[in-house]
């Protein structure tokens, strides 16, 4: 089959896909935090990209601003909180080792400047600054973990990132608490700290209780959103399958409408494929729990193969089923040979296959209503019936009966005793 046959539908699909990308094209001018090559949260890098200046200048600006009563730190925090992380498909700039060192250096300088200037100006004393610093580091740790979680695209919860993530979040929380305690210890007396902590806990519990409905709704919305996404994905998968199989076959059929045999072959092949896709791995009337390699599966499979190869219809009917063993495989092969013979010589459009599994034996009938033949006149060089069917069956303890006459069709009967009675 030439690819030219598929030309029309493919061109159509191309056009649709191009139209879709064109719609999504307008350039995105929003501020994004950098995903790669970042020292803390990618704010400086993102800002540099956004303003189209060098990262180094942005970082120096932040560090210097940090000296002005911590304004740089605050600005950084706000941009972190409100700036979105860049989507993963945005191109990331190359970052050298030198730039990284500079970045970390400037972070240290900024931190030092903010603490140092604060202490010098007497606005805050060292203890308070230390407390705030520790709390800030803790906050940064938790936020950073949240960014990581988003990067991993963890489905659902914020804390869904394994033990390491939990540890990081815990450590961050601990640092924040420690920072606050240090701060409180210096600002107020020890006895008041107890009271303050109690008040804080009481407030937290109150807020927690009040916000329960909101949390519940959040969780439910999340669940609904996930269900919707799964449904969409499923629909997309079905659409993709139909596109790859049914639509392509229909396109081929339209192109070949003047070749009925070819159309029939395509239609039958497609029908079988769709059925096995719809009704599960065992094909027709899939029965769950039947072990993988069974007689029914094997017979359905060979029927399909012959259909595809010879453009005829093979309709297998199976009664009972059993796993394939060493005595049944020759039966399946002999069945295949008999169907192929019918397809080649009988000049019919349909071959019926009937296989029955009984407790002590297996019987297979392969029948066509074709022209039939006289077994006595088959030339000696034809090995199909003699070797592939008779020989194969008899070697394994089975028997073959043949009913045919010129003009009256052919029926091959295969009998094979079963090795063991089914439990």
């Amino acid at each position: 089959m030439s690819t030219q046959l598929l030309h029309a539908p493919e061109a159509e699909i191309d056009r649709i896909e191009r139209a879709a990308t064109e719609v999504a094209e307008p350039e995105d001018l929003r501020f994004y935090r950098r995903r790669e090559g970042r020292a803390v949260a990618g704010v400086a890098g993102g800002l540099a990209d956004h303003l189209d200046v060098r990262v180094l200048w942005v970082r120096i600006a932040f560090a210097l601003l940090a000296a002005l009563g911590g304004a740089g730190v605050a600005a950084y925090g706000l941009l972190w909180a409100f700036g979105q992380q860049a989507p993963s498909d945005r191109p990331a700039p190359e970052v050298g080792a030198r730039e990284r060192q500079q970045a970390f250096g400037l972070v240290a300088v900024g931190a030092g400047l903010s603490v140092g200037m604060g202490t010098l100006s007497g606005m805050v004393n060292a203890w308070v600054a230390g407390g705030i610093g520790v709390a800030l580091v803790g906050t940064a740790l938790v936020w950073w973990e949240a960014d990581q979680a988003q990067r991993r695209k963890v489905k659902g919860a914020l804390l869904g990132g394994g033990r390491a993530a939990g540890l990081r979040v815990g450590a961050g929380a601990l640092l924040v608490v420690a920072g606050i305690v240090i701060f409180l210890l210096r600002s107020i007396g020890l006895d008041q700290v107890q009271f303050a902590l109690l008040a804080v806990f009481a407030a937290l519990i109150g807020v927690g209780l009040l916000s329960v409905p909101w949390w519940l709704r959040l969780v439910r919305d999340l669940g609904e959103e996930r269900t919707a996404r799964i449904r969409t994905e499923e629909r997309a998968e079905i659409a993709a399958h139909l596109h790859d199989s049914v639509l392509q076959t229909l396109a081929l059929i339209q192109k070949q409408s003047e070749a009925p045999r070819e159309v029939l072959r395509l239609a039958r092949g497609q029908e079988r494929q769709l059925r096995s896709w719809l009704y599960g791995p065992a094909g027709y009337g899939a029965r769950p729990g039947v072990p993988e390699d069974t007689l029914s599966e094997a017979v359905n499979r060979i029927a399909g193969e012959v259909e595809d190869t010879f453009a005829i219809k093979v309709s297998p009917v199976l009664v009972g089923d059993c796993p394939l063993d060493d005595r049944l495989r020759p039966v399946v092969l002999a069945t295949r040979e008999a169907i192929v013979n019918a397809a080649k010589h009988a000049e019919v459009a349909e071959v019926s296959v009937y296989a029955e599994v009984e407790e002590d034996k297996i019987t297979v009938f392969i029948r066509d209503r074709g022209k039939g033949f006289d077994p006595e006149t088959v030339p000696g060089d034809r090995h199909g019936l003699a070797d592939s069917i008779h020989g194969r069956m008899e070697r394994h303890g089975g028997a073959v009966r043949l009913r045919t006459a010129a003009g009256e069709g052919t029926e091959v009967q295969l009998h094979m005793p079963r090795t063991k009675v089914s439990p």
């Binding site: 009337g285 309709s315 009917v317 009664v319 009972g320 019926s352 029955e356 089914s422």
Partner: protein, 225 residues
Amino acid sequence: MSAETPAGKPRVRVFLVDDHSMFRAGVKAELDTITDAVQVVGEAGGVGEAVAGIARHRPDVVLLDVHMPDGGGAEVLRRVRATDTDVVFLALSVSDAAEDVIAVIRAGARGYVTKTISSAELVTAVLRVADGDAVFSPRLAGFVLDAFANRPGAAPINDPELDLLTPRERDVLRLLARGYAYKEIASELFISVKTVETHVSSVLRKTQMSNRYELSRWASDRRLV
């Protein structure tokens, strides 16, 4: 339009139920061109429409699609047969999964053929069910044999009259499953075609009435029983 065929037998009045109008048109055209013995008197594309149409036209045979919105062929069978048990149904479907086939048979259809059947065979099937006989596709015969098989560990038989097939019925079913026509079965078993028909009708009755586990399970997969 005459109600009599040249042979003097009244024409079989057929009603088509299928949710694909293209398919209805195709079957109608085929039946009109290849035979005088049947006459399409009406058609419907949905369950409600079908129930109303069957009540109005009172056809001899309803060709019934299994898969339709609003409950499918089984729902049509249930609603029509609640008031009128004379109408004969022949199920016509693309699906030959056991649940579908057994479900419509147990809901009261007198036969089951797949849509890939040739037009001549369809006419034969219509005439056969119109005469009160049953029509078994090879695969349906296979399913029934399977359902009535005596496997070790199967559920105990409550009613031997309904839950077991006679050896003769089994022979007939086997030949049906092997793709034999009624005439061929008759000559193979040295019995008359009429006897073959009797055996098949008896098997149909057992399939519809028996409480064998396989049958009720297949039917209950379509919430029918």
